[in-house]
């Protein structure tokens, strides 16, 4: 299988990577390895960690950081950016539609049963109309590349996508360690994410908000794997980082408990899952959420970012209809295609999947984090057969995709540079407009040949550069 290595064009190092290549030639990979431990020290000191829930796991594990940046030129980025923004608009239109009039279901474009029977579809949210009709204010679009201008969307994350703090911190560390590589403004800056996010939150202040909206970020607390990011984003915006117990609802209004008494909250960026957010409406055992907050939201007294129920489009079976959504709501053709996907709830497609397990990637429709999936070509016969049993037990729970030859990017190993597979998660912000910072989270599989890039499965991250127009 032909694998596209992003650093090369016809065996030549691409001009986009010349500055990095020159640095490497001058200093040698040993110098980079040395810097690499310096960078790790920097990350550990700032405390950027990602907890993984396995027995005996280090609660403050660092995500491995690879020092070779991944570079996009302006033209390539244009594809990524316009494609992601287009998708975000269509996804928000779709969520509004399915909790409202249901036009796309009536038109028979998306099967009603797939939505209404979906565990991520929240009946309690029917009829709710969030400010500006935005349900998912922050969307992470997972994109893979197979050729120079060949991109595919792998999945959408409309629930509560995480990872943006790494984008900003990776850049911070890189620019401290290699200031000369950033000279002259060739790499577009990533500053401003905090301003964009705060602006988006201000733009969706609830109907009954008077004056300047009070913003806050709701975290499950310091034991959550993404706690660092919660802290980081709240700090970036200069807003309070609250836990469920800091908030209470009285007469459908949300307040924080402060040393000066109760203070009203208008817009809440919540990093707690739907199921836990309000024990009165969802999981009654939740200790993390805020009883009554959904009532306050429906009364127009608080806006939740992202709105509960937005996760219905994260489902991998619903994903297959996103190109149709783009045509239906925007009247456009998708800029970035979906990966061709076989739905195992459809007889002929299921039969094909069963016959070709060894060549396919099979995923659970509700799964995330790289758990519960089969990568046919890199699995043993036993693994494939045991997965077949799970698949046969509930076919509708799975989709399958051809194994894409994901592009590779060079990483630093003890033996020098080596190619490893990468993907990209840019973050789209929706408020008054729909915007993106010129970068995203590049995740990299650190095992040779591996296609699994999730940090919970041992993947690493890289700094992602977008070159200014004129710098190729």
């Amino acid at each position: 299988m032909q694998v596209y290595n992003e650093m090369y064009r016809n065996q030549e190092v691409r001009a986009e990577y010349h500055a990095i290549k020159e640095w490497l030639d001058r200093h040698g990979p040993e110098a980079l390895l040395e810097r690499s431990s310096e960078a790790e020290e920097m990350f550990r000191r700032i405390g950027i960690t990602f907890a993984v829930y396995v027995e005996g796991g280090d609660p403050d594990r660092l995500i491995p950081f690879d020092m070779i940046p991944r570079v996009f030129n302006a033209q390539e980025w244009n594809i990524v950016e316009s494609g992601s923004i287009q998708r975000a608009k269509a996804l928000n239109a779709f969520i509004s539609d399915v909790y409202g009039a249901g036009e796309i279901l009536k038109a028979g474009i998306v099967p009603e049963g797939l939505i209404k029977n979906n565990p991520a579809y929240l009946k309690q949210m029917e009829g709710y109309a969030p400010p500006r009709d935005i349900w998912s204010h922050i969307i992470g679009v997972d994109i893979v590349r197979t050729g120079e201008e060949e991109f595919f969307v792998l999945e959408d994350n409309c629930r509560t996508p995480s990872g943006v703090s790494y984008v900003l911190q990776n850049r911070e560390v890189m620019s401290r360690m290699f200031p000369q590589l950033f000279m002259g403004g060739r790499v577009r800056a990533v500053d401003g994410y905090g301003d964009h996010l705060a602006a988006a939150m201000n733009a969706v202040a609830p109907a009954n908000c008077r004056g300047k909206p009070v913003l806050a970020l709701l975290t499950p607390g310091q034991f959550n794997s993404a706690y660092y990011e919660h802290f980081y984003l709240a700090d970036l915006m200069g807003i309070d980082l609250v836990e469920g117990a800091d908030l209470f609802v009285e007469n459908d209004v949300v307040y924080m408990r402060t040393t000066g008494g109760p203070e009203r909250v208008d817009v809440l960026y919540r990093r707690i899952d739907d199921d836990f957010i309000d024990p009165q409406v969802f999981n009654p055992d939740s200790m993390l959420g805020v009883p009554g907050i959904i009532g306050a939201m429906k009364a127009g007294n608080v806006t939740l970012v992202n709105a509960p129920g937005a996760g219905v489009v994260d489902d991998k079976a619903v994903y297959t209809y996103v190109p149709d959504m783009i045509r239906f709501y925007l009247g456009e053709e998708p800029v970035i295609k979906n990966v061709p996907t076989y739905r195992c709830d459809t007889a002929d497609q299921y039969a094909y999947v069963l016959d070709n397990l060894a060549e396919l990637v099979v995923k659970e429709v509700h799964g995330s984090g790289g758990y519960g999936m089969l990568v046919g070509p890199t699995s043993t016969k036993e693994e494939i057969e045991s997965f077949r049993k799970k698949l046969e037990a509930s076919p509708a729970n799975y989709i399958a995709q051809p194994t894409l030859s994901l592009s590779t990017s060079p990483v630093l190993t003890a033996q020098g540079l080596a190619p490893r597979h990468v993907d990209l998660r840019p973050f789209v912000l929706s408020g008054e407009g729909t915007v993106m910072i010129p970068s995203g989270l590049t995740r990299v599989a650190l095992q040779e040949g591996s296609l699994v890039v999730n940090s919970s499965q041992g993947g690493g991250v890289k700094d992602t550069w977008v070159l200014n127009e004129g710098w190729l």
Binding site: Q222, R257, I272
Partner: protein, 328 residues
């Protein structure tokens, strides 16, 4: 500010102060251990160290017969089951700092985080067992660095006020307990005793309070009980005196208490009362009440002020710990 954040800052600061005070107490024990023992002394030095640290309940051995350098140092340094051990204090400091990072500068966080990772190395290398003094110096050094980053980098806002409150409440408690050591080691009545050993023991208490030099500066005479009590209780210049602690508690509280909040004003008035009372007090009056009795009353009432302060700023109830939740 959020009540939970105020609480976290308050306790983070108390634990930093406590780890240093425990180190000072252990140093005191080591110094007193080197002195000749008085035959009719009711308790050994190490027993008194455990009592002064407030750990007699958690001490896992017989307090009267089995308290020695090894058992006491282990309980006050390593024992995670003892919430006042140095290891537990450092962990609690880090846990509070991590949860309250939004209210801290990166310098404070890095100082705390570094302390926690160095502690692990220190204990792995058995530094506390092989060179106790060096280990205790390290603890005091780390406490000084954390305090330095706090005073050098934090905004002087409400959060800073709660950090200061935590420090002074803890120090008031620790100094009072330190003075009470004398009661447990020697006879209940301070004035009954005298002579060379008595002098040496009072000197060690001054040392533990880092106040030997101050004593010479202020009183220009050799160490005596009246002087030590005047310095550590009533002196208005000593950073470790009870008067200084109460004055700072009053000052910090008056900065953050809201004029329109009657409950906060009531607590402020009570502490103001205590402060003026201390200003008028003399060493003779303390002796006539009995040093131990007076100190016991001081410790109890100061702790009461601390919990009333927590109540009126909305963090009186026991803190709720967030449960683990794995979200995408």
């Amino acid at each position: 500010m959020l009540s939970r954040v105020a609480e976290g800052l308050f306790w983070m600061s108390r634990y930093v102060e406590r780890m240093e005070n425990i180190a000072r107490l252990l140093d005191l024990g080591r110094r007193m251990d080197a002195l000749p023992t008085r035959e009719n002394a009711p308790l050994s030095e190490w027993t008194s160290v455990v009592i002064a640290s407030g750990c007699s309940e958690s001490f896992p051995h017989d307090l009267k017969t089995e308290a020695n350098m090894a058992t006491v140092a282990d309980h006050l340094i390593r024992d995670e089951g003892n919430p006042s051990s140095i290891a537990a204090c450092i962990h609690a400091t880090r846990a509070n700092a991590k949860a309250m990072r939004i209210a801290l500068s990166s310098e404070v966080w890095e100082a705390v985080n570094q302390t926690s990772s160095e502690l692990r190395q220190q204990l792995q290398m058995n530094r506390d067992q092989e060179n106790l003094t060096a280990f205790l110096d390290w603890v005091r050094g780390r406490a000084a660095i954390i305090r330095g980053t706090i005073s050098g980098t934090l905004l002087r806002d409400q959060g800073y006020g709660f950090i200061e409150l935590g420090k002074w409440f803890e120090r008031a408690d620790a100094t009072a307990r330190l003075l009470d050591v004398k009661y447990h080691v020697l006879l209940p009545s301070v004035t009954d005793v005298g002579g060379g050993l008595d002098y040496l023991q009072w000197t060690q208490i001054l040392r533990a309070a880092n106040s030997t030099r101050s004593f010479r500066h202020i009183y220009r005479r050799s160490v005596d009980p009246e002087g030590v009590i005047d310095l550590l209780v009533l002196n208005s210049k000593s950073p470790r005196s009870l008067l200084m602690a109460i004055r700072n508690i009053y000052h910090e509280l008056s900065m953050i208490a809201l004029p329109e909040d009657p409950k906060q004003q009531v607590v402020l008035a009570k502490i103001r009362g205590r402060y003026t009372q201390l200003m008028d007090l003399t060493v003779d009056e303390i002796f006539s009440i009995g040093l131990h009795e007076w100190l016991t009353d001081f410790i109890v009432s100061t702790n009461l002020y601390a919990s009333e302060t927590a109540d009126v700023f909305g963090f009186g109830a026991p803190a709720t710990q967030s449960q683990d939740q794995n979200s995408q």
